[in-house]
């Protein structure tokens, strides 16, 4: 028979009011076992010496929360990691120029700026699903903004034929009325984009050049065809998006 010290704990349960937020979000953690403790950090991996969770945490900026469960009779759990994304600017509207698939329409462009995180249920109304097409969307702001970072939230689930995007190009409209490129991200090694483990919180933060603007256009290119070895090899991978955050 196994002794307790060779059994590992499962990670603590972590819940937040909102993953995407404007001013503040509150994070609660739970682990139902007598004499167990939860330890957390916002930087390095936590240990038993890290801060002990006692009360809900108020989060006011983008952070990565890392937590473990500990108990004297068991091995500490693996680290659970949660990323909370603060939005500085909220568009008045977002227009989607590429129609989402009818099975995953979300709520059109407004799904991308409603600060609602998509769940593991792809039909929850928060996900937009696209098959084999570049996504083009434009965000409109009443007042000038200077956006320093753009965060694109997607998901990756290899077994469900869903892969992250391959390239993002961001443009802003300048005072002359011309679109100018203010940011770009491209995958260097596409093989590293593929993971067998599903990831429903897949965020890419892209640094932007300074531009005072009221309109931002984002072009998101999908991964492309599913790679050799995949049951659907040669068919286009799906691209799923649930939010674009302007920081």
């Amino acid at each position: 028979m196994l002794h307790g010290q060779t059994l590992q704990l499962a990670p603590p349960q972590v819940t937040a009011g909102n993953v995407f937020f404007r001013d503040k979000t509150t994070v609660s953690m739970e682990f139902d076992m007598e004499n167990a403790t939860i330890h957390y950090t916002f930087k390095d991996n936590p240990t038993e010496k890290s801060s002990t969770y006692t009360l809900p945490l108020d989060i006011r900026q983008s952070v990565t929360l890392k937590a473990i469960a500990c108990h004297p009779d068991f091995l500490p759990s693996a680290v659970v990691e949660r990323y909370y994304v603060a939005a500085k600017y909220e568009p008045d509207s977002m227009i989607l120029f590429s129609a989402a698939d009818e099975k995953y329409p979300g709520n059109g462009g407004s799904s991308l700026c409603d600060l609602k995180k998509g769940s593991t249920n792809l039909h929850d109304g928060n996900w937009l699903g696209f098959s084999g097409r570049t996504v083009i969307t434009e965000a409109f702001f009443t007042n000038d903004i200077v956006c320093k970072h753009l965060v694109v939230s997607t998901l990756s689930d290899y077994n469900s034929w869903i892969l992250p995007f391959r390239k993002v190009v961001i443009e802003g409209k300048n005072r002359c009325g011309n679109w100018v490129e203010i940011g770009q991200w491209q995958a260097v090694d596409s093989s590293k984009m593929i993971s067998q483990k599903a990831e429903y919180a897949n965020y890419h933060s892209i640094k932007l050049k300074r531009l005072k603007t009221r309109k931002i256009r984002i072009k998101i290119e999908p991964f492309g065809n599913l790679p050799p070895g995949h049951p659907g090899a040669g068919a286009p991978a799906w691209l799923f998006l649930d939010e674009i955050i302007f920081q």
Binding site: L2, G4, L7, A10, T120, A198
Partner: protein, 334 residues
């Protein structure tokens, strides 16, 4: 004498504790607590390989039969000490559901194979007796490949009910000779109709218990297929119901998506269909409205439990899917 009464009276409970050592963990809550033995099975992996271990049954000789989708030996037979007594079966690439039924003193197995789109009735030595094919000429099914059965249950009159958990989520009701009698359930009531069992705990109202695994529910249907009751089990992706005495036992594949999250556990319901124990998971509790607080894994004793077998001493054996080709684990009741 009933096992648990004997132990109470003698006052002997081995804890495995010796001076200076930490006590072995006890999993579960309330009256259903267990010690775990992950090395119960003594099989030689080269001689008796497994891929996924799916389901298990106990024959009247005390032998444990188990399905695995490894076609080198789709059926493995164990004794209660974990030794391998035998193996057979090369023609079941998707060997999944396993039910044992005593028919006038002779025992038969019902094996579902969703890859072959068929249910096969065999003797205990593997000799094929009968097959149950896809329900042709019905409104619900247009082709053989839509029928991907995961489980069977046998009615008192010998009728065979098939849960099409990997196909269209219907329960297909055949007569003992294979004639189609009824189809019920379906996507309106079932999301991943993974398992089915006959429930005769209330002898005046027998029912079919069908798991709706993807939405964490247990559905009770009348013998004719009318929905009687929905039992929500949030946080529990339940595989198939195993009725033993007054209780229902479940292997819980996962407690949260994705499907390979490794967050599984087992749980036991009482005669009122309330969760009373969840070994390696959080303590079951109900709020003032009678809603179960979502369960979650607390100890990684399992990855993806797929079935439990309960023996005469109320010990459990847990077979697992997608868990590193592991053999079943034993939980000894304390």
């Amino acid at each position: 004498m009933e096992r648990r009464t004997f132990i109470k009276q003698t006052g002997i409970i081995t804890t495995g504790f010796c001076l200076g050592a930490k006590p072995e963990p006890v999993l579960g809550q309330g009256d259903f607590r267990y010690r775990i033995d992950q090395n119960w099975c003594k099989a030689d992996t080269a001689a008796f390989p497994v891929k996924n271990c799916h389901e298990m049954v106990l024959d009247k000789s005390g032998r444990i039969f188990m399905t695995t989708d490894d076609t080198r030996n789709n059926i493995l037979i164990f004794n209660k000490d974990g030794g391998v007594l035998g193996a057979w079966g090369h023609e079941y690439p998707g060997a999944h559901g396993l039910t044992l039924h005593d028919e006038n003193g002779e025992e038969f197995l019902y094996i579902t194979d969703p890859e072959r789109n068929v249910v096969v009735k065999t003797k205990l030595n593997g000799q094929v007796i009968q097959t149950f094919d896809w329900p042709q000429d019905t409104a619900e099914y247009g082709s053989k490949t839509e029928f991907r059965p995961t489980e069977t249950a046998i009615a008192p009159n010998g009728d065979v009910l098939v849960a099409d958990g990997y196909g269209k989520d219907y329960v297909v009701h055949y007569g003992s000779k294979g004639e189609l009698k009824n189809i019920f359930g379906g996507p309106k009531y079932l999301q991943n109709a993974h398992g089915i069992a006959l429930d005769t705990r209330n002898k005046s109202v027998p029912a079919w218990l069908v798991t709706s695994r993807a939405d964490n529910k247990l559905q009770r249907f009348s013998m004719e297929g009318t929905l009687l009751e929905t039992i929500p089990l949030p946080g529990a992706y339940i595989c198939r119901p195993v009725v033993k005495g007054e209780n229902i036992y479940f292997a819980v594949l996962i407690s949260q998506l994705p499907w390979d999250s490794g967050t599984g556990f087992v749980c036991i319901l009482d005669k009122n269909n309330k969760v009373v124990s969840a070994p390696s998971a959080s303590t079951p509790s109900y709020d003032h409205e009678g809603l179960l607080k979502p369960l979650y894994q607390t100890i990684r004793a399992f990855k993806h439990p797929h079935d439990v077998l309960v023996d005469g001493d109320e010990n459990m054996y847990v077979a697992q899917w997608n868990s590193g080709q592991v053999y079943p684990i034993k939980l000894t009741r304390v």
